[in-house]
């Protein structure tokens, strides 16, 4: 399978990455090189093979459902580009 320019733009939008008109043909070529490389997986008969979900056979650890951390909003927002009263600021989303 290979991608056309329209698909490249659609993927970029899904990935929330702005692309310029000049970038699109380059990205298209690079993405198609990768897609053609992975094409060889189609040679393998995977009928009846379970897809891997966990690389080490272990039961996921669980802990008690309780608050063990927190209470420092100023630390949480310290690296944010824009904040007010320990809230993250974004452009208006709803009118």
């Amino acid at each position: 399978m290979s991608v056309d320019e329209k698909t490249v733009r659609r993927i970029a939008h899904l990935a929330r990455i702005a692309v310029t008109d000049e970038e699109v043909p380059h990205l298209q070529g690079e993405l198609n090189a990768i897609l053609s490389f992975v094409e060889q997986l189609n040679e393998v008969d995977v009928e009846g093979v379970e897809p891997m979900t966990s690389v080490t056979p272990m039961v996921m650890k669980k802990r008690q459902d309780g608050v063990t951390d927190g209470g420092y909003p100023e630390k949480i927002v310290r690296n944010a580009p824009a904040t007010e009263d320990n809230f993250f600021l974004v452009p208006k989303v709803v009118e």
């Binding site: 490249v8 990935a15 992975v38 995977v46 690389v55 272990m58 310290r78 944010a80 452009p91």
Partner: protein
């Protein structure tokens, strides 16, 4: 006496204990070496004041007779590990000013054992790369030069000539260890990012079993593949460092609750009676005859030390790399969704929230990262998920099964080359076709796909005088056998003579 920066971790530990020198002297020697080596661009952030303060605290503990496992040992930290109050960038512009309010479990374990932080090490952006050329902070210069090359330290403080890459993504870690700019470094490995740079720089690097080392506080690339480990100058030093890095961790649900063995005790165990597998599928077309020869040599060394060498088959080997280039980008596209210009990191303002996201990510991510996010987004998108992602995860089951079948036949470890070639020059690979660069990881990526441990040990030099490494792959959670067999290789090959400081 040997220069302080040329000691191994084991030697430095003994010297500090015997009070032959102080932790402060050891840290100061490294701080000075780092200052003189800025042309290599191995460190993205030097923390000399922190290093000296930590060293003074170590000296006080040593005086009180309270030295811990890594007391006073100066280390470099890959910039993927979050360090509290010290900017942690993951090699990306999008995190250029990120100052973590917390400490990663790995680095906390190291400081709790008395280690000293020299600074943060350069790396490929978000650990995506095999040459350290994708870093937003410029490439790392390998301390190694081809024989008769034109590389030299220029008057401007920049390196002149076509220099070699140190490998990646842990290129700063490998270069710093090889150039004696730290006694050991932390690194991470998603597809070969510890073992490939270690092989390129004549150093030792181990990727532990998935789940052995906590991933908490380490910037995520592909969560089912990422694992941290050390890069050091000897096998013993890797054993010492890994013991401190590894721990159970309630903050990482994929980190196992198994006690950490005394890896150093395993180093001198030898390989007598062990069965070492040689997988025929690793004999690839176009492999350099020098690497083929070194591989035979490695097998002979292990045989001479009492191991039995057995030809084995891992039939799905060739599919590991293409399957990886579906699984890793898929996980990356999901993990890197968090960089949206809202909660931390770079922000580029836009006319609405979606425009803000798109502009921020376009400005903050480099080309390789964008490519991988887009591939990941594509293979996870509606209509393609089964054809790509599910198929790749099925291949992963088959790759893991190959190893299980070999181990079930009594094989203790598998010997392979670490890389298909020695280090290449900057700008030489991957500019037209990204896959050319990806092929570097052909021997290492299988190990991540199966979650197994793998160690790269320097085994010789090629005709150009550049180091080549061998890889040993172990059973899950049997890093001890890798240290034992790795030591046999190191003893048989002799310690690689690292380059003189031509950059200073």
């Amino acid at each position: 006496m040997t220069e302080l920066t040329h000691l191994t971790i084991a030697e430095a530990r003994d010297g500090l204990k015997a009070k032959s020198f102080s932790a402060t002297e050891l840290a100061q020697a490294h701080v000075e070496a780092i200052e003189k080596a800025r042309a290599l661009n191995a460190y993205v952030l030097e923390t000399p004041e922190k290093a000296l303060a930590m060293a003074r605290a170590s000296d006080e503990r040593i005086a009180r007779g309270e030295a811990r496992a890594l007391e006073g040992i100066p280390l470099g930290i890959k910039d993927l590990f979050c360090t509290e109050g010290v900017v942690s960038t993951a090699g990306s512009k999008i995190l250029a000013n990120f100052n973590p309010p917390y400490e990663s479990t790995v680095t906390k374990n190291l400081w709790d054992d008395g280690a000293v932080m020299l600074g943060k090490l350069n790396m490929d952006e978000f650990a995506m790369g095999s040459s350290n050329e994708t870093s937003a902070f410029g490439p790392v210069v390998s301390p190694w030069r081809r024989e008769g090359s034109n590389v030299s330290a220029g008057a401007s403080g920049q390196v002149e000539g076509t220099h070699l890459v140190p490998g990646g993504s842990s290129g700063g870690s490998a270069a710093a260890v090889a150039a004696h700019l730290c006694l050991g470094a932390t690194a991470t490995d998603t597809g070969g990012s510890i073992r490939q740079p270690a092989a390129f720089t004549g150093t030792v690097g181990i990727k532990p079993t998935y789940g052995r080392v906590s991933r908490w506080g380490t910037v995520a690339f592909a969560s089912s593949l990422d694992q941290a480990g050390p890069i050091t100058r000897t096998v013993r030093d890797s054993a010492i460092m890994l013991r401190s890095m590894a721990s159970p961790d309630p903050k990482d649900t994929t980190c196992v609750d198994l006690p950490v063995p005394d890896y150093e005790a395993a180093v001198s165990r030898g390989v007598k009676g062990l069965k070492i597998g040689i997988p025929k599928e690793y004999r690839i077309d176009g492999m350099s005859p020098e690497i083929e020869k070194l591989w035979h040599q490695g097998a002979e060394w292990l045989r001479a030390a009492g191991a039995e060498i057995v030809e084995v088959s891992l039939p799905h080997t060739k599919y590991a790399l293409p399957a990886y280039y579906i699984v890793a980008p898929a996980e990356a596209s999901s993990n890197l969704a968090r960089y949206d210009g809202v909660r931390y990191g770079l922000r580029e303002n836009g006319r609405d929230i979606v425009d803000l996201y798109e502009k921020t990510r376009a400005a903050g991510f480099g080309r390789e990262v964008k490519r991988r996010i887009m591939i990941g987004t594509y293979v996870l998108s509606a209509g393609y998920y089964d054809a790509y992602y599910v198929r790749a995860q099925k291949l992963r089951t088959l790759i893991k099964r190959d190893f299980e079948e070999v181990y079930a036949k009594g094989i203790h470890a598998i010997l392979t080359p670490a890389t298909p070639s020695a280090a290449f020059g900057i700008g030489e690979k991957g500019s037209g076709d990204p896959v050319e660069m990806y092929l570097n990881d052909i021997f290492t990526v299988t190990v991540n796909m199966a979650g197994l441990p793998g160690i790269a040990v320097p085994a010789g030099l090629d005709a150009q005088g550049l180091p080549l490494g061998l890889q040993l792959i172990g059973r899950a959670f049997d890093e001890e056998t890798l240290f034992a067999a790795g030591q046999v290789i190191e003893d048989s090959a002799g310690r690689i003579k690292l380059p003189q400081a031509w950059w200073a």
